[in-house]
Amino acid sequence: MAIKTRTEIRFLLNSETVTLKDVAPDETLLDYLRLRRSLRGSKEGCAEGDCGACTVLVGRLSDGKLVYESVNACIRFMGSLDGLHVVTIEHLGGEGGNLHPVQQAMVDFHGSQCGFCTPGFVMSLYGLWMRSPEPGDAAIEKALQGNLCRCTGYEAIVRAAKAISSYGKAAKDPLAAERSRVAARLQEWRDGSRVEIGIGDARFAIPGNVDDFATILEAAPKATVVAGSTDVGLWVTKHMREISPAIFIGNLDGLQTISEKDGVISIGAGVTYTDAFELLSKRIPAFGPLIDRIGGEQVRNMGTIGGNIANGSPIGDMPPPLIALGATLTLRKGRKRRTIPLEKFFVAYGKQDRLPGEFVEAVHVPVPAKSAKFAIYKITKRRDEDITAALGAFYLTLARNGMVENIRIAYGGMAATPKRATAVERALTGKPWSAATVEAALRAYAADFTPLTDMRASAEYRALAARNLLRRFFVETQGGKAPLQVSRTEAA
């Protein structure tokens, strides 16, 4: 199948159309803005997608609709911007001119002190205000999970966020006004062609479609596949690893579908956490609070569930619950596909069941029956935007007589891979679902896990907390009035 090839990327930067031929696979958007364009309003605070000082908005077409999402420019590669609209702090207001409502609210409510994080906060709040003009505390906090401020204690920023709408209407925003023009432009750019840029050890490709991706990867099995770059970004900024040849797949519609059929939700490998949220949290409610605690908003807007699986991390948050639900994985190489149980994918630390030239195409998640109990518990040092110390996922069905019929328990952070607690499961299966059974089963944890001590938690804590999560799961299945978890949203 012949496919057209381009040798340049094109995108909108604020109001300007940019066409670039000289782009390295590892050039970040932040470096491009600051070094090449002298647009220095976006700051580098950490270069790893955690502090949000570099936050910009990226507009993309999703199901034909133009959506603007906050992203971390520090770990966003230029190659992933083809056909998109980048909006930076310089696009809002200006010296001497009128401030944008977001900016005016931040000024009037004393939302800046040192000011270094401020452009990032303004951009995150701008993104929030566009989709939710009058947000409550929870929405504001969620939108700001990926923005660190060390001066204000956030109170003034939250006050400003609540007041933005009194300064102007989101519908009258300049971006809203030019929405149809931008959408048309982005649509026009979706020509289905492959992009190839660079030579030698500094090259990358953007496949024209999923089949094209399969072809490219099969021909270049050592290529770095980049979806959301929330992990690969750090390979570059922190470890200075070479990623050439890189294949950017963030634009492939064919990987971005999430749908349900016959009680199974299929999630394409390119679906971001943000895009998966609605369906996943509606059909399997335990995913809602979990996804809300993965990274910050910027990371959820970029990061993909497929990437979280494919990178094989022992502390990825999606694999344990997906394993507990009995999810399967479709892998593809060229035209050949195979589907395996997700838990078989994780062979050992740093080793997955993925052949050279093969890629994760989709994950399939059975929706639990109404009678089944399912829960996910993530434990971190800081509640939000923190990497898991330990995460437990529990899936349970009971027989009519109250005996444990089927239980699947999977943990992250407890072993070199996401791992089933098979000994614990055995200790529970076929027994009455009771406190006594649970207490007796706790002894089996030692057979399943020998956790490590690291900066996130000690081995002792991991072992104890992991056991306590089973206790919690049991208590939660029993009902009752007393609160069982600390909660951010309930007022005191």
Partner: protein, 788 residues
Amino acid sequence: MNNHSSIDLKAARIKGGVATDQRHDSAHKHVTGQAVYIDDMPEPAGTLHGCLGLSTVAHGTIREIDVSAVRSAPGVVDVLLASDVPGENDISPTGRHDEPVLADGKVQFYGQPIFCVIAETREAARRATRHAKISYTELPAIIDIGELDPVSSKLVTPPLTLKRGDAKAAIADAPRRLKGQMRVGGQEHFYLEGHIAMAIPGEDQDVTIYCSTQHPSEVQHMVGHALGVPSHAVMVEIRRMGGGFGGKETQGNQFAALAAIAAKKHHRAVKIRPDRDDDMIATGKRHDFLIDYEVGFDDEGRILGVDFMFAARCGFSADLSGPVTDRALFHCDNTYFYPNVLARSAPLYTNTVSNTAFRGFGGPQGMVGAERVIEEVAFAVGKDPLEIRKLNFYGPNGDKNGDRNVTPYHQTVEDNIIHRVIAELEESCDYARRRRTIDAFNANSDIIKRGLALTPVKFGISFTATHYNQAGALVHVYTDGSVHLNHGGTEMGQGLNTKVAQVVAEEFQIDLDQVKITATTTGKVPNTSATAASSGTDLNGMAAQNGARQIKDRLIDFAAKKYQVPHDQIVFLPNRVRVGNQEIAFADLIKQAYMARIQLSAAGFYKTPKIHWNRDKGEGRPFYYFAYGASCSEVSIDTLTGEYVVERTDILHETGRSLNRAIDLGQIEGGFIQGMGWLTTEELWWDDKGRLRTHAPSTYKIPLASDRPKIFNVVLADWPEAHEPTIHRSKAVGEPPFPLGMSVLHALSDAVASVANHKICPRLDAPATPERVLMAVERLKAEARRRA
């Protein structure tokens, strides 16, 4: 800020004088991204970039440094080694010669800079750094202070002893006594803008440094020493920092010195901006402490004698560890009167990065020790800790038992308002009722437990090194009546420049936008102190006021003579001056003065009165005054995992007659959250090789917006004017709110204690991570079972 159209010559009040809520002078620039930080400045053509090469062992001698592959890496121009330092290879801020710019022969912590790559781009410098081959002969490394003996182990600087009465005898004779130990962790500053310096070579020996520093004069001195040139050859400028918090008091010296050395060597501008990881690994943090305490008390819970040992992990060099550990002792009383006290410090040498200043400067660690003692006594006598706190407060002013107001360092507390602060807060936060509600909640909730605590703060204001308590300012009035303001303080977000400009506007009675705030530079105001110790506004506000007054006095003399009116008939009104029966626009009077050849520029100066300190004796008046506050926090903890949330915090904090309540509120809210972070989720973690493994925001967790108390009430107590004649009777507000975060630690402790019916002191160490909370819960449950 010069906007002439806004002047109102009939105004009854100027726009933006003191005691008005002015926005931060750079707020517009912050929100538009137009505020210029050093990395945002346009680089001169040909600018080079530096990257540090760091030690990969914690302690050892360097056998060989092979940087040939670094030199031949793409884009590399030079590799600086210790031997390339033309002057003194030392940046010890206290003159102890224990801190090299680049390690020479030996390394003393994992991450110590050994070489500096200079390359055409920052990226090239970073990549090349990895090609170095350095071999070491490793030596035993001291990482933790747990096994050290505070009396006999190696120290980095002489310890301090504070002594009043006979603590040991008082404890021995007391009806009750107990002892214990507390570990309180350090803290990474996590200023959002990391360290950065850009050096631009000039003619002769000159070099200009743009550096993110709280202490431009010290950078000037250090660069001068490192280059081997006089101070006059070095000019240091800083318009604003993206946060400092003490982390930029001394720690910028290294980057500035290396940038300057490379710039002079290659006759090109050189910029060094370390990556966040290098910044966190190679620069110092808040000191962590092991606090040993023994206390004697009566059956009521009144403390009779207390004996403290404050052992601090200082790292490999002294840096500011002397004054930091001193200040810990100065605050081991917090708001409490100790009839007999012995407090000793142990600034311990370790093979870790040299710890440094951080908001509170050891004071919070001292106060945490005091509050632990209070908590221990409360559990011992079975009372609410708040009762024990109140029982042990310093006596109120004019108390007939006047002897309850002398500190361990023999300064008399003359401005004590803590009784009223606590009474008002206790009332407004509904402490007693909530205490009952929480007890009822806990009785019916097995897994989730609530806790409540109200903790006080008294913070001493002044540098304890008396000579630092001086400041200068430079005020120019231009012929159009606009004012150029410069002073020795630095702006790191705290709103110092806004406040000082308000003072100058007030003095001249001109609108705030007539006062131009300018970058801090050693070329305009020399020999300045660090902007630290909460002193920025107190010192620089006074110096600027003094400068303005000199000019005003000349204007008055001039007008009196010219218009033949007595001096007292010349009054500065808003944007105009009344001279006898006529009013003259300020700008017009300035023009007349200029034509009459009146000097319209002045160098202002201020030194804090009354203070003195004899360190050898441990006696004196180190503090000009104290700032007070209190906070009450309520938390929920999960006894299965140790996770928690802060349900509510109420704060009442004293500001004196606030110069700017909006800015002060920001300092209080931000200080509290930062203090809470220190005591909760911010954990520094070294592995057994001495590697700091929490060196980026992915692993080091400062509070987020969603960690704020769900309900957060902050009230400024501005009813008491400052006891001393401070600038417009305002009080310092930089550091004092930081220890308000202690109420969260104690609320967590209170919640933990509920699992053992409040019979056992949880001895919850800091930071109280979910892990520490859970482990404390387990310990108490086990202890309660054993006792039952």
